[in-house]
Symmetry: C2
Subunit: 212 residues, 2 copies
């Protein structure tokens, strides 16, 4: 199994956490986004979307971090990253999607770059744009976490799930972007809990072979 990914890619970080939680070993193939390697023809021939991460297994390529995590759950069910009951599974997926849909793609580098192209946004404005969407998204996630008795040591109960694997990389980014996390005590608590586990620590950007 090969994971095409990059140390500083937040979506790659999610897939690394899930692989680690399941004890899956994989070949780390670095696609350095800082050098534009995801846009090179050799990678695009594998993954026409030209993004990371993508997972190669049995000669087949899977793009999109959530599709990769669900695939790992189906092919390596133990330990599970989704609860057993349909409503719990929906809650975990919804929390992961609140990061994957409502925060990461809007706040991220591609959107910020086009703000410069289309609207001449300067660096401060682009950074403010990013912080805005992280703050908005965390507000909704914090509300969903505090609103439910299903929240435990982690986002859902006392075992880490896909929701934690998506939330933690976003909090990591937010800290570096200067987002004020004071209004989100539950998110901060879960971030600390997750970072007590080797599966999360070993997945962090600075622990990867292509770390800057």
């Amino acid at each position: 199994m090969k994971l095409y990914n990059f140390s500083r890619s937040s979506a790659s970080y999610r897939a690394r956490i899930v692989a680690n939680l399941k004890g899956i070993t994989y070949d780390y193939v670095s696609i350095n986004l800082m050098r534009g390697e995801s846009r090179q023809p050799s990678y695009q021939a594998l993954n026409p979307q030209g993004r990371v991460p993508s997972l190669e297994d049995n000669g087949l390529l899977i793009p999109q971090s959530m599709a990769i995590c669900e695939y790992l759950e189906e092919t390596h069910p133990k330990p599970p990253i989704l609860p057993a009951d349909p409503f719990g599974r929906a809650r975990v997926r919804a929390l992961a999607l609140m990061v994957a849909c409502e925060i990461h793609p809007i706040a991220g580098g591609r959107a910020q770059s086009y703000l410069g192209t289309l609207l001449n946004a300067n660096a401060d404005q682009r950074a403010q744009w990013g912080r805005h969407w992280m703050t908005e998204g965390f507000r909704e996630i914090e509300a969903m976490l505090t609103n439910s008795g299903d929240t435990g040591r982690f986002c859902h109960g006392d075992m880490p799930t896909m929701a934690d694997a998506f939330l933690i990389p976003q909090v990591y980014n937010a800290e570096r972007a200067g987002v004020d996390l004071a209004p989100f005590p539950t998110i901060r608590r879960i971030y600390q809990e997750c970072n007590k586990l080797a599966a999360f620590v070993k997945a962090a950007p600075e622990s990867q072979p292509d770390a800057a």
Copy 2:
């Protein structure tokens, strides 16, 4: 089962398609986004995220369209909206996520509105922003569809899947936003195929009780 949704919400449209494909009847609860009803306390008490769609089943509330679709698949497996094999399931999920993550949240109304707030973007610039992300996302989806023998009458084989349920509402939006679809013949063909099916036609915005 109640679906809190709005005729013109693209994410609501996805959930309606999947419910229709499975022959699931539900109570249609209109949350009129044009009147800000998703931000009203009565709705936020149910769904702290304050977005549509959300599904109420057995007294529990599920936000996020993809979490809803996966829940309907798990609780009403026939007919399936995901293939049986793990790689096929991953491919369908990846295609759906390419709409749900890379296009819809960036191109959509909330992001466009904040462009005005932060950068004084005018109506033309906001519209250009939306078309840009739809075009970029469709380029990647078209490449993924044409690159694979798994593409059939629909996005994956000859039965509609979750990938089609996500793609069709985005194409519907793109047509109305004036996106040039000429470069995406496979997407256009699949759009036409889907719209031959009652499940898709009945889910369209203009067919809903709260249509403008």
